[in-house]
Amino acid sequence: MEEKTSFWSRITFSDIVDWTLIPILMIGVVISVYIWLLLPIEPGSMEANIIGDPVSGFSNVWASVLQHLKLIGISSVLAILAAVPAGILITREGFRDFADIILGVANFGQSVPSIAILALFMGIMGIGAPTAIFALWLYALLPIVRNTATGIDEVSADVIEAARGMGLTNRQILFDIELPLSFPVMFAGIRTASVINVGTAALGAFIGAGGLGNFIITGIPLSRERMILIGAILTAVMAVMVDWILGKIEDRLVFRRE
């Protein structure tokens, strides 16, 4: 009971602004898109065929949002599943020597622009969502591997020595000391990777992966500004929101650590 009151009393005005400003802004943007861009679409026009109209509903927009989320969701989760163990592994004794080489190769890969990666894998795996997901997955690996390894490396040697001195096994040190302490850094990598993925997923439309990028890349050759704006603004909103949500989670993690 006492803790509850203290929790509420700790909330200040700036906290409230901090927690609500971006979501309210973004909801405002989405509502504006609905009112000024979606509602005026005339049923039966070309735009109505692709986007939908107020009479038949905007299921296409909704489906694109979901497809976009699916692309980034699956690729990010798979990237975390693969990259976090890999990041832990290259900080283990005996693998440490390989860390530089592995990170160097990954860094090299990261310099290759995303559109080039998408095009290369399209040649190998064909068009469609799986190719896009594979490319996104590959592209998200490096930030997570690198941050996991850095986070664990940054845990001070004194702490680990103290833990070892108290008789913790290597496994206990990893799970009780190194991972909790390196979590914020690791999470920052996950955040970076996810936000990059939102943008790269929009490019996925070029290779037929669907998503919000579809509206943009269909709109540009057809010179349908409305269509471009819907795709562009919603993608931007999604990027900002993903960044914001993950940022808030990251803040909580850092806070708890203190």
């Binding site: 699956i74 798979l78 599943l81 693969a82 163990p85 890999a86 592994l89 004794e93 005996g94 693998f95 020597d97 390989f98 080489i101 090299f108 310099s111 290759v112 622009p113 995303s114 559109i115 080039a116 990666i117 095009a119 290369l120 399209m122 040649g123 969502a129 799986p130 997901i133 594979f134 997955w137 936000v195 939102v198 943008g199 790269t200 929009a202 490019l203 070029f206 290779i207 990028g213 943009i216 890349i217 709109g219 540009i220 500004e225 471009i228 704006l229 795709g231 562009a232 603004i233 993608t235 931007a236 990027a239 900002v240 993903v242 960044d243």
Partner: protein, 519 residues
């Protein structure tokens, strides 16, 4: 009788030992385990390990996917064949690794070496085959497993992880078997992979047929001969260079402003604000008495230069001039951006350090907006073409530069600044002689990030009507010409990597000598 009993225990002991070794490898993967297992290496164990694997693979292949090259005249014969193939494949690979490891200073014997390798191959191979078998029995084809979108797509990731695990075990095994340094292990495996790659390429050429490499290089040569490739490269280069140039100026100025103490607005500021405002107004006025009066001659000059030089100098400066003329052709937009920029810079000048947090926050948010979305949004005010691309590219590029300039200057130790100030340096001298030189490596790191990022975004800018290397990618995708989009992807990647390398070198060159020796 006792003889037989002894044989029996020896037989059981042999199997138990083998199983123990497997378990040791799977549960305690580290150097010590391998060094211990090295002692227990015998030839029969290797053969047996591989025979088991071959048997299981054989059973899997024969029951589920009988390949064409097996003549199913007798199941046992086929099984025997598969076991033999497995053994032979393994020993050939093991021998190659052994020879290369020996050349690189490995000391282990072939039996030890092979035994440790077989200890990886056999159990992991069995696990993967079991995986595939179960998946198959569940009614999933290989294609379905490989599809990450299918509900069982995670299986793929497990198999990839197993592959990674096996690779790391291989590193350990080689290290233990030959008592090598880890870099020697890497070289050994690198040599095997490298020679495999070279052999593949040689085989491709030896076949005497067209292959992807000859086709691609022929395509690139053809494009080069027609001059379109050079045009795309130059278009790409100039677009990146021009945007980065503007971005460096604006980004560094903004980054510096948000490290300075706040300033009061004063009347003297009007002496540069008013002329600047008037200039932008005159420039932007679409039909004013000076508007086209200024814009027209510049346009004419750039048009004549454009044509003249494009023909004369084979178009080296062509893309730059068309960029410039695209900018001059939009006086209203330039005026608008100029006014906005002036307002922002002046606001930052007044606010100074107190605006740093907000500025960096906004910069961070803008950086999260996907490039294709930004191009799309800018189509409204700027339509498609070079102007739109340059604005978007500049906006992106200045954000890392702004952030790094700020961080670099903030990281200058306070005592160094105090010493400078205490010796009577003005704020400007302090900035020019102390803060910026010390922050140069950090600023350059920001420029490097920007440039590498822009190379990718400039490719995307092709979609809104710019001649960059992205043309190859987009046209290739539209026309379903793999050679074309491979060409785009490869050139863009090479471009980005070489820019990264070049800027890394430049960063090192620009770092003041005295800062290099420090950690």
């Amino acid at each position: 009788m006792p003889q037989k009993e002894e044989n029996k225990t020896a037989f059981i002991g042999f199997w138990q030992g083998l199983l123990d070794d497997w378990m040791a490898v799977l549960t305690r993967p580290n150097i010590e385990t391998y060094i211990r297992l090295k002692e227990r290496a015998t030839s029969p164990k290797i053969v047996l390990n591989l025979a088991l694997l071959g048997l299981v693979i054989g059973l899997y292949v024969l029951t589920i996917q009988p390949p064409a090259f097996i003549q199913t005249d007798s199941l046992l014969l086929d099984l025997g064949r598969l076991i033999f193939y497995t053994e032979a494949d393994f020993f050939i690979l093991s021998l190659i690794l052994f020879v290369i490891a020996g050349l690189l200073g490995g000391t282990g014997g072939f039996v030890e070496h092979s035994y440790l390798l077989s200890l990886i191959t056999a159990p992991l191979g069995l696990v993967i085959v079991a995986f595939l078998f179960v998946a198959n029995k569940l009614g999933l084809t290989l294609a379905a497993i490989m599809n990450p979108l299918s509900s069982i797509g995670i299986t793929t990731i497990f198999i990839v992880l197993f592959g990674l695990y096996a690779f790391l075990l291989l590193l350990f095994a080689l290290e233990a078997a030959h008592e090598m340094e880890s870099h020697q292990v890497i070289y050994t495996i690198g040599a095997v992979l490298g020679s495999w790659g070279i052999l593949r390429v040689i085989a491709m050429f030896a076949a005497g047929e067209d292959n992807i490499i000859t086709q691609e290089s022929a395509f690139l040569a053809e494009e080069w001969a027609r001059g379109t490739l050079q045009q795309a490269i130059l278009g790409h280069l100039w677009m990146v260079a021009f945007s980065v140039f503007i971005a460096v100026v604006i980004g560094v100025v903004m980054g510096v402003l948000i490290t300075m103490p706040p300033k009061r607005p004063s009347v003297s500021h009007l002496f540069f604000l008013i002329p600047l405002g008037v200039f932008f107004l005159i420039w932007a006025a679409p039909k004013g008495w000076l508007g086209m009066g200024i814009a027209d001659p510049i346009m004419e000059i750039s048009d004549t230069l454009d044509i003249g030089l494009t023909r004369a100098a084979k178009g080296f400066f062509g893309p730059l001039l068309s960029l410039l003329s695209a900018i001059v052709r939009k006086p209203a937009a330039v005026g608008m951006i100029g006014v906005i920029l002036t307002v922002i810079l002046y606001a930052l000048l007044l606010a100074g350090e107190s605006a740093s947090e907000l500025t960096l926050y906004i910069a961070g948010i803008i950086l999260t907006i996907p490039s294709i979305a930004l191009f799309g949004v800018f189509i409204g005010p700027f339509s498609i073409g070079a102007f739109n691309a340059v604005v978007a590219l500049t906006l992106y590029a200045q954000l890392p530069i702004l952030r790094n300039t700020y961080t670099g200057i903030k990281e200058v130790k306070p005592e160094i600044v105090e010493a400078g100030r205490g010796m009577g340096m003005t704020e400007f001298q302090l900035l020019r002689n102390v803060k910026i030189p010390i922050a140069t490596p950090v600023i350059m790191a920001g420029v490097r990030v920007s440039v590498v990022m822009l190379v990718g975004i400039a490719a995307i800018a092709s979609y809104i009507g710019n001649d960059t290397l992205g043309d190859y990618i987009f046209h290739g995708i539209q026309r379903v010409q793999p050679l074309r989009y491979y060409a785009g992807a490869i050139t863009v990647a090479v471009f980005a990597l070489s820019m990264d390398y070049f800027l890394g070198w430049l960063q090192n060159r620009l770092t003041p000598e005295g800062l290099k020796g420090r950690r």
